[in-house]
Symmetry: D2
Subunit: 370 residues, 4 copies
């Protein structure tokens, strides 16, 4: 684990731990401070407890993060007295204290060097293997969702995606089956054992959706819907946070911070393409963001090549590319009959093409040692 400032002249082999980036953070978020206390590798429990005690005296809570090599204690608070850092630096077992200058704190890699693993049932997201969430854009009928769930499970998917509440830019288009859709998803889960990922669009729906869903999806349009972020945060359930169409990586991590700040560390980031000048594709898949978000944050990051491209025939190459870029998982639209899909048919794979893609992903994962 490396806390020293990155030096290109000391470029470590790529296999080394990601160092702390050198970029200056944006400066207009002064209201809160955060720091990490780096313990010596030989620090014992009593020394760690002594630090936690002192933090308590300042009514601050320490977030323990035990690495193989050493222990890190993260602290976030509106009022971290400057003197406290100096005090702690001379504590036995303390190697150094480092202020976190990024606007996001709890989600920052500096705050927690180890990767966060989000458990969905017994599926581990962020633990190395590539998790596949597949299913239709929208739940349309019992037969459609059950058929699809069976075929994607057979092909190797580990979660089922499907929309019951759909955000639509026009008030005149189909907006999903609502709670009935949630019931059908639960039915598909009972049939196949696949956990469910589905979108929640507004704070007042969170309890309802949380009763059915295993993962609460916050869509791109709602990435900065702060009341919704706090509400899903309060549930403690895994949250799939899609990046906004024109959100910077920093804004994306700040939205994740809203969820984590509610005491819910189970956030899965999802790159789904950004809006650019290019019109030949629905969005522009930003795989730089997948790699950079994993470096800047300890949260798992997955990719959505269906929305990221908007064309079924571009989904396979971009799915493979996302995995190679380091994505912890993929969310892919699959429909038994794309031409008759109520939404996103053009970007949905047939079950056959999905199965073909899965076997190529498996080969790739093996080559990447995942």
């Amino acid at each position: 684990m490396t806390i020293t400032i990155e030096q290109r002249s000391a470029q470590r082999l790529i296999v080394a731990q990601p160092p702390v980036a050198i970029e200056q953070p944006s400066t207009d978020h002064k209201e809160v401070n955060a720091m990490i206390v780096v313990m010596r590798s030989n620090a014992d429990e009593s020394q760690i407890n002594a630090v936690l005690e002192r933090l308590k005296e300042h009514s601050l809570r320490g977030h323990l993060s035990q690495g193989e090599e050493r222990t890190i204690i993260g602290v976030v608070g509106a009022a971290i007295p400057p003197i406290l850092r100096e005090e702690l630096e001379v504590f036995p077992g303390v190697q150094q204290t480092v202020p976190i200058t990024r606007p996001y704190k709890l989600t920052a890699r500096e705050f927690r060097p180890e990767d966060t693993i989000v458990m969905v049932g017994d599926v581990a997201v962020g633990a190395g293997s590539c998790v596949i969430m597949a299913g239709p854009c929208t739940v349309e009928s019992e037969e459609q969702i059950i058929t699809t769930a069976r075929s994607v499970r057979e092909a190797g998917a580990t979660m089922l995606r499907g929309g019951a509440f759909k955000p639509r830019s026009s008030p005149y288009t189909f907006r999903g089956m609502g709670e009935e859709g949630l019931r059908l998803l639960a039915l598909a889960r009972a049939e196949t054992g696949l956990p469910i990922v589905t979108e929640v669009m507004t704070p007042t729906d969170v309890d309802l959706v949380a009763r059915y869903a295993d993962v609460l999806q916050v869509g791109a349009r709602n990435m900065q819907n702060y009341q919704l972020l706090e509400e899903v945060g309060r549930t403690g359930k895994p949250v799939l946070l899609k990046r906004g169409l024109s959100a910077t990586i920093e804004e994306w991590l700040l939205s994740a911070e809203y969820v984590v700040a509610q005491g819910n560390p189970n956030v899965i980031l999802c790159e789904r393409g950004i809006r650019t000048f290019e019109t030949a594709t629905r969005n522009t898949m930003d795989l730089n963001a997948v790699a950079l978000a994993k470096r800047r944050s300890h949260l798992p990051v997955i990719a959505d090549p269906s929305h990221g491209t908007g064309k079924w025939y571009l989904v396979p190459p971009l799915a493979l590319a996302s995995l190679a870029a380091g994505a912890d998982g993929l969310i892919i639209e699959v429909h038994p009959d794309p031409d008759r899909a109520k939404s996103d048919g053009a970007q949905s794979l047939t079950p056959e093409n999905f199965a073909a893609l899965m076997s190529r992903l498996a080969a790739l994962a093996a080559a990447l040692g995942r």
Copy 2:
């Protein structure tokens, strides 16, 4: 009033009525139909009623729009039988029927050729003169809001803006005074007689904010928060709808359609700058959008040069430019002490600079015959 397809070879003088644009609309909004029935200039009331009657028989409602020259009847419905158009074409007094192919219907210029005028107290928005909404980004104290309200009224502003609920990209920054802020705004209104424009961020706050505000502002981040759009639609109160950071003009009008579809025609569109590659300014003011939105829609359009530029010294030139581009009003951040503002100080004008700007705007408005 011109319903014929625009022909460049027949470019009318700019003073002529805006014709219907020729661009093809996006095609994936087939669920609803809309058409307009154009009556002959000499059509009498009985003929108009006959049309409305026939629409009723198909359980469709006609939206009357009486121009100087002639009357237009707009119709929107999931099920407009094709045969109905043919029937109506032979009705006495009917000149022609024209289907509306744009995804937005009620907000389309074709649907209502006359400009919509939104009344806020006795301030008319969209009636020709340039309405000025001014005030601080955030309500900070009684003294601050009262002082500012007095100075902007003195300088000629006709509405007071101020935030009680603030969307902030970081969970650690000041998010406004909440209801206390609303109370202070009401106090400032009582003091100065200026109607209040303030933001509402989530559906459950709409009733509360509506009790205090004269205009409900929906911010850029919430432009596609559909539950919020429908909730403010239900209040019937004037709604200020800001364009999203990366929303197309079509998406912006579709969001307005959500409000109007609730039976609330009182929507004021607000261009506040879009996100582009340029970093020398906070956003890129898109005045093309002001002119095009006024052409595509009958709703009033105002501009926000404070957020559109992010720099106080660019506010005056862009405010003047917005007026010249046809904006029906401006919303401008003014703070008694920008350097100590809790937010947006860099883009807030001092009362002195605001007053200087107002006199230049007056001269310009006169020259434009407004």
Copy 3:
């Protein structure tokens, strides 16, 4: 004239001189230094000469800029010894020396506080009035160019624009008449007395085009064609430098620096719309850039609403807006028969609409005191 660092707390009335902006310049252009020597208001000629002499001793040239209030001496050089600044600070008549930290030097407002005026024949660009350059996108025939030239001059245009060499994204589209087109432009000038603005696309054509043209236009696609910039710089002729489709304001001014660094100060900047996600308009007119470029640089800035919008019916409102934003001129496409134009018909005005626009521009200019 203000050299002090801008303080928002000391916001001057908008009528005051633009102060030096506070933004940090990008830092990766360290190879060259520049500074300005600010003389006291009462400094006499001998004191000024003494400074110039000392600069000579370091083989540096001083650029004199005589303001009403005081004199500024600008210096650019790879090797400005730090000691020199200290020496000069104690010279009689010297008030202070200020290093220029922006990547562009000769084009920076700090380097030359007074506006640069570019003379084209007896037309002054940047002297306060709004210069109108009008004509067809492409020269198509003698009759077409002569007719258009006559009609735009009648309407009040002061220069004639027309393309003989056309950059086209497809190799299969009409690329202009070449030298024959230049001959026809010269003919139109002889007929009407209007100076000619026309594009040059490649270094080897510069001499040819310069023999005919009064202003050499460098197109958006060539904004970073450095050999072309240096070649037009060497001619000493006025250069119209269009902003690239995705060029930042800083990159735009750096391209101007290429021309001025050849000893040719006669650069006219032209904002012509940038490329964004919005597809309802051909480009997004960035009027922030017009106002900011005039603040950051002393060069005149004009606007091109024809390319900036791509739609004839948006040209008038954006032309008025550009003037209000502070543009020193406009370049507008006019064609006797837009529907039959070989290029850009959709954005070309008819002579009638151009005349109507001209009268509205005149009224606006008067109101703005220009």
Copy 4:
């Protein structure tokens, strides 16, 4: 080989031949026509010759493309008489004729279904394996270029990249060693046997650079420098065409068409990141474009993760992702001492990290069957 219109309902397995896409092409390139004549699988030589003969009679040239299954004859011409298509349809051995409606013709996949393979010495670009071009951004000294050439060859690179003529946004920064740099590149080639890729910036330099280089690079800023495109086209040498910072995929292929239209089919397309709103990375790598360009065109496509990310630590993940997305090669900046590089140090890999990346690329290529 599939000429039928793509049907999603008939999604073939991903391994199938790419079908013709359904998108409508832009319509403003009517000046030239193109079509393909599809011969029956059993068509014999005499039947093929008969078609070529008839084309000659109309002074049109047929481009033969012999697939395993069948033969395609492509035709491009300003004047393809409509009647000709009907005539050919009844020729013996002709299955059908299909007009090419895209603005680009010779570079379109429809025009030539088979992948184009560009030979650089005995290195085949586009033949399945992933070609690696590596080296410093700029040639700085004999020792620097020789050392780097040796280390990248050792690590498995098959070509050497290095800049002798550098486009720089500022006139005050180092612009490369010029011809001396070319000489050093030639020296490095003699030492290592690696072919040279280097940039040419202006038409008058093409002959000079072509005397030294094996591949002529046209940079992003020059993607629409048409005289340069035609000049490199005339040399017949392999051309590396970088995508412009804000160029659409269609514009990119149209620029390639300029080169191919000169009779030079040896074009290698290079995605190097586009300009978006995201500032955390230098550019946004658009891997959608890599996959889509390979589908729309028969030309090989490589990727430049160094410029695409701007950060050395993002180069490895994006290099792997580019390969997985289908890139035919990679161009990567390597410098013996990035911290002291005269340009692009931040995005240059050390020889150690490059070697580590190469072994990971090899494993990935094997898994992808390349």
